[in-house]
Every structure is written in C-alpha cells, then in structure tokens.
C-alpha cells in the first residue's frame, strides 16, 4: 500500500467521523468466495469530504454498506462516530444519512410524501417537520415539485430528493454511494454545489463513492480503491504528487510504433494513451523532450508539438493502479484485473 504519513492515522477512533481498519468482506458464491473488500483501512475526520474513488467493481458500494452495517463484515473493525457498525446499528442510523446507489425512494409516492415518510420513520415531531421540510425542499430546489411522484422526477432531481430525505433528521455524517451516477453534467455540478454548501454551513462530514475523477478534486481527502484494496490515500494534491515525474503530451500520426519506441527510453516512467494522444511521464521535461523528438524523427513518425501538461487526477490514478498491478504481478505473478475506467473512456477531450 502506498501511504502518506498522516496525523489522522494516530487519531482515536472515537474522534473520527468514520473509521475502518483491516475491514474485509468476503461473499460466498457457488464457485467459491469473492473478496470484495480486502483489508481496507480508512479514517475520516469530522467536517471532511472524503471521496472513495475507484472503478466499477472495486468494492466501493460494499465498503460503504459494511461501514453502515447493511452487510456483515468478514473481518476487521469499522465504526461511525465511534459506534460500531455491527453492534450499534441503531445508534448509527439515528445520526447518519445515506443515499443508496440505485433509485431507492418509493417511486409511487410524491416528493412531499417521501419527505414526510422519512421524517416520520426518523421520529421527527410534527413541529420539526413543518419547519424542516420546506427548508430542505428549498435547499434542494424541489419546492415547486412537492406533488410530483418520485418516480416521475428526472435523474438529477431524484438524487436531490434523496439528499433532502437523508438530511431530514439533521445527521452529522452522510454517506453517498455514487450519488451522481447517471446524472447529467449540469445536475452533477448542482448536486456538488449543494454538498459544498452543506460542508460550509453545517460542517457536515461527507463520505462519497464515485467513479468520476473530476468529483475527486472536490473532496478534501480521497482514497483510491482498486480490487478491494485501498491503494492510495491523501488530499487530491498529495495523490497527484505520488506520481513521479512530469507529463509531456503529443499526438503522433501512428501511435502504436511511437508508444513502442518511447516506452523503453531512459527517463521515461510510463506512457498512457488517450485515443491517439500520448501522455509520457518523464523525470525531466527539458532534458527528455528533445530526446523523444529525436527518437520519433529517426522512426519517421510525424507528430504535433510536444508540450508539458499538468498531471490530472485520472492520470495519477491510472499510474497508481498500474504500479499496484506491477507490484501484485511481481508478488504473485498473477494477472491483473482488466477493469474499465469510466473516466478513461469518457473524460478525455
């Protein structure tokens, strides 16, 4: 595991909003068992926005469900606000808000009925409901849609309603499982602005699962989960700093021979392809740039201008995943998981 030394590591779990150590979840199937979460440890301090980032199938949803006590854990410890996930389930549920990944609000009930339902099962008094529900509807921008069935709302509005419902009992911590999955970019930004307001105004601790790299940048702390393991953690800038070197970007006419030629060169750590575009990670831009240009010229590969670019979150992640795979391959000579990255396919333009 690639770790940054962190003061949080040594904080007491009771002072943490969310804590997990050595958390493991194994599912039994007919063909054997699958370890969805593997010896995962994380700490979230109060007021933080923690993003658990990883590709589909990495174990994000399982992690959040185990922490919430929705799934039993196979090994390890986890707690929210010092309450154990398995034993103090109801203590947690009074203090925590959660949005599950699927559209999980009763679809045949209206926005208002949903709000009242969740207020009711959280045990809110009528006076509190009268005060709090319009406030939350206003906050979520749903004031004009109170009579609409939840099932008839747009994807973005469904998520906002879910957020409003999960905030009804004024939780100290909210856990959001891919809250912007399948939501259009404008609604995604709106949703994150709402989360930003919550953090600023209420000091709410937010734990969010997401496969979107741009959302990772909006978190104060992130953990990269891959194949059930947390392979990196830290602030977004720290994560980027974990990747050695700098990036040179260019587009050759023929990327395959260019990739082959450059990969083995001295001072080149790795090459990532984005369609026709190549990102070359080098130790020193001013020194390696002319060398690469020369190499391409000898091969007769035409290209546009080589220019240094800022490393992006998804590049950092891909780099870290590749390094993790190399470590794993060296350790057990086992093949890596060919996991698809949403960001890699959709976020490059």
């Amino acid at each position: 595991m690639l770790e940054r030394a962190s003061v949080q590591e040594h904080a007491k779990s009771s002072e943490l909003a969310i804590s997990a150590s050595g958390l493991t979840k194994t599912f039994k199937t007919r063909r054997g068992s699958i370890t969805a979460v593997d010896d995962l440890s994380l700490q979230v301090s109060p007021g933080e926005t923690y993003g658990l980032i990883g590709p589909d199938g990495a174990g994000k949803t399982t992690t959040v469900r185990v922490i919430l006590g929705l799934l039993t854990r196979t090994a390890g410890e986890s707690s929210i606000l010092g309450f154990d996930s398995m034993n103090d389930t109801y203590e947690i549920r009074q203090r925590v808000g959660y949005i599950a990944q699927q559209n999980v609000l009763p679809a045949d009930m209206t926005v208002m009925e949903n709000m009242k339902f969740f207020a009711g099962i959280q045990g809110m008094s009528k006076q509190d409901q009268i005060r709090r529900i319009p406030e939350l509807l206003e906050f979520a921008g749903l004031s004009n849609f109170t009579g609409r069935l939840a099932g008839k709302l747009s994807g973005g509005m469904k998520k906002k309603l879910a957020l409003a419902c999960c905030l009804i009992h004024e939780p100290q911590v909210v856990l959001l499982d891919e809250p912007t999955l399948g939501v259009d970019p404008v609604s995604r930004r709106e949703f994150w602005n709402l989360l930003g307001n919550l953090r600023a105004e209420r000091g709410l601790t937010i734990f969010v699962n997401t496969p979107y790299m741009d959302e990772a940048e909006r978190c104060t702390q992130i953990g990269l989960i891959y194949a059930g393991r947390l392979i990196a953690r830290g602030a977004p800038a720290e994560i980027k700093a974990m990747v050695p070197g700098h990036v040179i970007e260019f587009t050759p006419t023929d990327s395959t021979p260019a990739l082959r030629r450059i990969s083995g060169m001295e001072g080149v750590f790795e090459v990532q392809t984005y369609g026709e575009r190549l990102h070359v990670f080098v130790d020193d831009v001013s020194r390696r740039k002319p060398e690469i240009e020369a190499a391409l010229a000898t091969e007769g590969i035409a290209h546009n201008e080589l220019r240094p670019v800022e490393i992006r979150m998804e590049e950092a992640f891909i780099s870290l995943v590749q390094r993790q795979n190399q470590i794993a391959a060296k350790a057990q000579a086992q093949s890596s998981n060919p996991l698809a990255w949403k960001a890699a396919s959709g976020g490059v333009s």
Binding site: G69, L70, L71, T72, A100, Q102, V104, L105, D108, G120
Partner: protein, 384 residues
C-alpha cells in the same frame, strides 16, 4: 422488541399508499377471491346427474323395461344408446361415448319371479365422480325396485292391503336419517364456510408473501434499513393494511354467501368477525414467513402457491381430514385454515358459540402471535 408508534404510523401510511396507488393490482386482489367464490359456487358440484348410459336389454320384457325406466327416472342416468352385447358397451366406455353401461340378461322377468335375477352395471372407473354418483344411483334404484317386487309378491301371497303397511311390518330395521343444518343437502351450504377460509388464506398468504419482498426487490429496503426502523415495525406495517384489506374481502364473501347464494348464517356475527381476524392475522404471518427469505416476487409467489395447494388438499375443506394418514394431517395442522374451517362451520352453519370452538380459537391466537415474532426475528436487518 420495541415499537415506536409514530414510525409505525409512517410505515403504514407508506404501505397504504402503495396499495391504493396500484389500482390494477388492488382490483385484482379483491376481484380474484370473488371470481373463485362464483366458480366454486356454480361450477363445483359433487353429485353427477344424467350420466350417459348404454343399454343392452337381452330380455326385452315389461320388467326389464320398467327397470330401465326406473334408472332413467332417478335422473342419475340418461338412456343414450342401445347396444347388443357387453363387449359393445365396454367399447363405448373405452371410446368415451358413454360413462355407464347396463346389461340385462335374457329372461329377466322370469328370473325376478324366481328371485334369481341379476343385472350388470358397468361404470367408467377413470372418472371418480361418475363412478361415485353412478354407483350410489344404481344401487338405490335397484334396491327400491327389488323392494317393490318383494312387496308385490308378499301382497300377492298374504293378501295385505297396501305396500306401506308391509314395509313397516316386514323389514327388521328402518333407518330414519335426518341431516341437521342442511336438510336439503345443498352443496353451497356445505362449501361456503370452508370456502371463506380457503379464499381468505389464499389472499392473505399471497399478498403477505408479495409485500414482504417488494421493498427488497425494488431496492427501497436499503433506504429504509438505514433508518432506525425496527424489524417488528416493518412487519406490522405490512400486516395491518393487509388485515384491513382481508377483512373487507371477508365482508364481501360472507355477504354474497348469505344474500346472493342464500346460505343461512346461524351463529354470532360478532364472534365470527373476531375469530376471522385471528385467522387472517395468522395467515398473513404464514405468508410472511414463507417469503421472509425470498428475494424476488417470483419466489414469494411460488411459496404462496404451495401453501394454497396444501390448504386446498389438507385443510379438510374438500377431503375429510379423518381419512388422512398422519403426515398429511400434520402438514394440515400447520395451516391456520384447518382451524378456521372448523370454527367457520361451527359458527356459520351450526350456530354454536365460543364454548364449542375455543380450542381452535386459542390455537389460532397463539399461532398468530408466535408467527409474527418468528417473522420479525427472521427479518433480515441487513442486505446479505
């Protein structure tokens, strides 16, 4: 196990909303028992009349013709074909052209005078209802006919004046039968009290089984499980709206039974209502139990169907439990319907009070209580 009433009220409101919003499902829910009621009332008839019969009359005399006429007059048989010999009759039964055959050997009249006459009745054994009705019909007619012949002979010999005088004087035993509660033996009168149990258990088990998995299948359970809601509250919130629904169905079924089909209700409606409530609650509990581990509506539906089948066969509604071997009888004991059918028949048809049904009533009460606790304990508080 604690219950927060406000939470329970919110959960019930949610379930009621689900029930009322899905109008088509609601109509189906209430319509299906009614359809079944009419089907049972009009289509199910255990006595078969007008069985098609082939006749071989090798005697062709007055007495043989009188005997055939007596069979036809009994309404049990219709004289549909005339044939030459036994083989032809068997062939006709094989082909399904007739379900019964009568063979009268030659010299029927002479033999009856001597007291050695015999006829052969052939019945289609592949059809139990025809056999039962045909057998009893034929025996009845033959006996009456024989009795008539004897009395004629006796009158002839002794010079008695009327056959009725003879019957009383010469037969050693006279059975006088009186059928209580249903003197005319009307099928629907027998059927309805049991049918109430059958229809309500089917409705309750099925709906309870479905409602238990719906949240799980839709995924809404995940959002509800992360609230402080307790399993018992969830279970009760699903049970209470269905209880109201089943009571409505009960009212409609009993109302139709009494006012449409004219089945007399002899007992106390008040008592019947409360014991039905116990029965419905137990059936709902059973429905929840069979699907507490199910994850899809399909699984729930199948377990509900199995329960319905056991109810139909083993509860005593149609087939007498007295005749069952131990294991089927024990399976029948698991069903609330078994107890309720006895209660229903006792109150509905016999008009007796709690002193006669208290054991079954107590069993249902204990059953209901235990099953709700078991369901709540087995309710999965987590997703795995």
């Amino acid at each position: 196990m604690t219950i927060n009433l406000q939470r329970l009220a919110s959960l019930i409101r949610k379930e009621v909303t689900h029930l009322l919003r899905d109008r088509r499902a609601l109509a189906f829910m209430l319509g299906l028992p009614l359809l079944q009621l009419f089907l049972y009332a009009y289509a199910v008839n255990t006595t078969v009349y007008h069985i098609p019969m082939a006749v071989v009359d090798q005697s062709q005399d007055a007495k043989s013709r009188a005997f055939i006429q007596a069979l036809v007059n009994s309404q049990y048989f219709d004289y549909t074909r005339q044939m030459q010999n036994e083989n032809e009759v068997i062939n006709a039964i094989d082909n399904g052209q007739v379900k019964a055959g009568l063979v009268i050997p030659p010299h029927f009249a002479t033999n009856t005078d001597r007291g050695t006459a015999s006829v052969l009745m052939l019945l289609d054994g592949s059809d139990s209802a025809s056999v039962t009705s045909g057998y009893s019909g034929a025996s009845l007619v033959a006996q009456n006919y024989a009795l008539e012949l004897i009395s004629e002979q006796v009158i002839h010999k002794t010079g008695m004046r009327s056959p009725s005088q003879l019957n009383a004087a010469s037969l050693p035993i006279i059975t006088s039968t009186r059928v209580l509660y249903n003197p005319d033996m009307i099928d629907i009168w027998f059927l309805l009290p049991g049918l109430v149990g059958m229809l309500l258990q089917t409705l309750a088990v099925q709906q309870a089984a479905l409602i238990m998995v719906r949240d799980r299948e839709l995924g809404t359970i995940e959002q509800i499980l992360v609230t402080p809601t307790r399993p018992l509250e969830l279970v009760l919130s699903k049970m209470i709206p269905l209880l109201a629904l089943c009571l409505m169905a009960l009212g409609v079924i009993v109302g139709l039974g009494v006012f449409w089909f004219g089945v007399p209700f002899h007992g106390s409606l008040f008592l019947y209502f409360w014991l039905s409530l116990l029965f419905i609650a137990s059936s709902l509990g059973l429905g929840m139990l069979v699907s507490v581990r199910a994850t899809t509506q399909r699984q729930a539906q199948q377990s509900a169907l199995a329960t319905m089948m056991f109810g139909l066969l083993l509860s005593g509604m149609i087939y007498p439990r007295l005749a069952m071997p131990l294991i089927p009888r024990l399976i029948g004991d698991i069903l609330p319907m078994t107890y309720f059918i006895r209660i229903s028949r006792a109150i509905f048809t016999k008009g007796v009070g709690l002193t006669f049904v208290w054991q079954d009533a107590l069993t249902l009460a204990i059953y209901g209580l235990i099953i709700v606790v078991v369901v709540a304990r087995n309710f999965k508080k987590r997703l795995d």
